[in-house]
Amino acid sequence: MTQILSPLPGTFYRSAAPGQPPLKADGDDVAVGDVIGLIEVMKSFHEVRAEVAGTAIAFLIDNEDPVMAGAPLADLG
């Protein structure tokens, strides 16, 4: 099992824009390069891409939660 870590500190978003479905639902499979969420740092938005492939993604934090750099965002099976 691996984890996806936050590359930056900021606010984590699970969808690309308010009101849109999450980029990845819990349980989805993930390929290398898939965007799994966004981090907002000082009003600028950065995509979080998976660096490894995995199955059944399980998010560890909620939409709009604050995160620190290096904090785990999700588990990958």
């Binding site: 930056l8 500190p9 900021g10 606010t11 009101g19 000082m42 009003k43 600028s44 709009e64 604050p66």
Partner: protein, 454 residues
Amino acid sequence: MLKKLLIANRGEIAVRVIRAAQDLGIATVAVYSAADADALHVKIADEAVHIGPPAAKKSYLDMNALLEAARSTGCDSIHPGYGFLAENADFSDAVTATGLVFVGPSGRAIRLMGDKVSARSAAAAAGVPVVPGSAGRVESIEAARAVLEETGFPVMIKAAAGGGGRGIRIANSLDEFDQAFPQAQAEALAAFGDGGLYMEKVIGRARHIEVQILADGRDAVHCFERECSLQRRRQKVWEEAPSRALSDALRAELCASAVALAKAVSYSGAGTVEYLYDDAADRFYFIEMNTRIQVEHPVTEAITGIDLVAEMLRIAGGEPLRLSQGNIRVKGHAIEVRLNAEDPARDFAPFPGKVGDLRIPGGPGVRFDSMLYSGYDVPPFYDSLLAKLIVHGETREAAIARLVRALRELEIAGMKTTKPLFLALAADPAVLAGDVHTRWLEGWLTDNAAALAG
């Protein structure tokens, strides 16, 4: 006079407002999110109230939390600063409905000026020149095509509910226009909950010049202009006053038009009327009015000696305007640069982090407005503005020399900031000559990317 003020903001502007209030003997209440418990505005205010988690939506934008904080601490007034709820008409109304004083204009005035279409109409009605374009909202693409005969190309399609550079598209041809118009409609609806659009001719090469206003609901005065042509992604980075581009006659006309607009809408408080100035045609056009104190207000304070935030507080406390137009005079030249937590060497990537050694410049003609202190951990959740360096000199040349001197003194260890950008700009021949326009900096950044990266 107000007795106890809640400052519904954070960062350098919260510090600035607290200082002005304390100078006037008004008690101050800071508010803070969980990420700002150690912030300077919390430390210097007389009291502080925790209002929620880091996300601004759940703290600094939470009207109920702010009103409850004001009520529980016995405040009689709320200053919104800039950003967050400063230009939210519903917040102004809600504060007033609670029986408190909103330090700023009425909800009615904010609504009128916040909708770019009604602002444009109000300006035209007050005799202020507006950029050629649609008379109001354009409801259909057919109606929009008819406006193109007046504007030609390129043309700007703007969201009525937009602002601050957001919700703008530019079309260079009819093909581009036909494609951009429905996209802009959908975008505006998604971003602002209002798909209303209007159109304006693109003024090819223009300066951004704005006029500072103070008004008490009956009378209004101007505190002259600021030029803010150096912008990156439509965000101002360097502001100065006065503008050397204006003749005395045109300056008088420009400033009088801003006063006329403020009076026409019975404006109260501090406000800024923004214009584009077309050098070639020697004409100015209204673009919008900002119904708040602005980031760059210290530039005006430096050349006029007026404490704009203190005047806002006096007006909100019920005093009539103390200043008469004849007593407001310009002395020397001032420049402000915005020190953002951004790395100019890496395309201005945001750079939150911990401040190490902090050395603040001083001496004659130097002002440093900031929320920084040694050991402060800059949170990643908010705007990247760390500090504003304001310099004042007898002439523009003296101000630029002083800017360079002060920037060299400044040390914000541990952080990447926009300081190297300003040192480079202050040595650039076009900047020294004042030969710039609103899109000049974008081109300069492309040409000088390598130098900034080194």
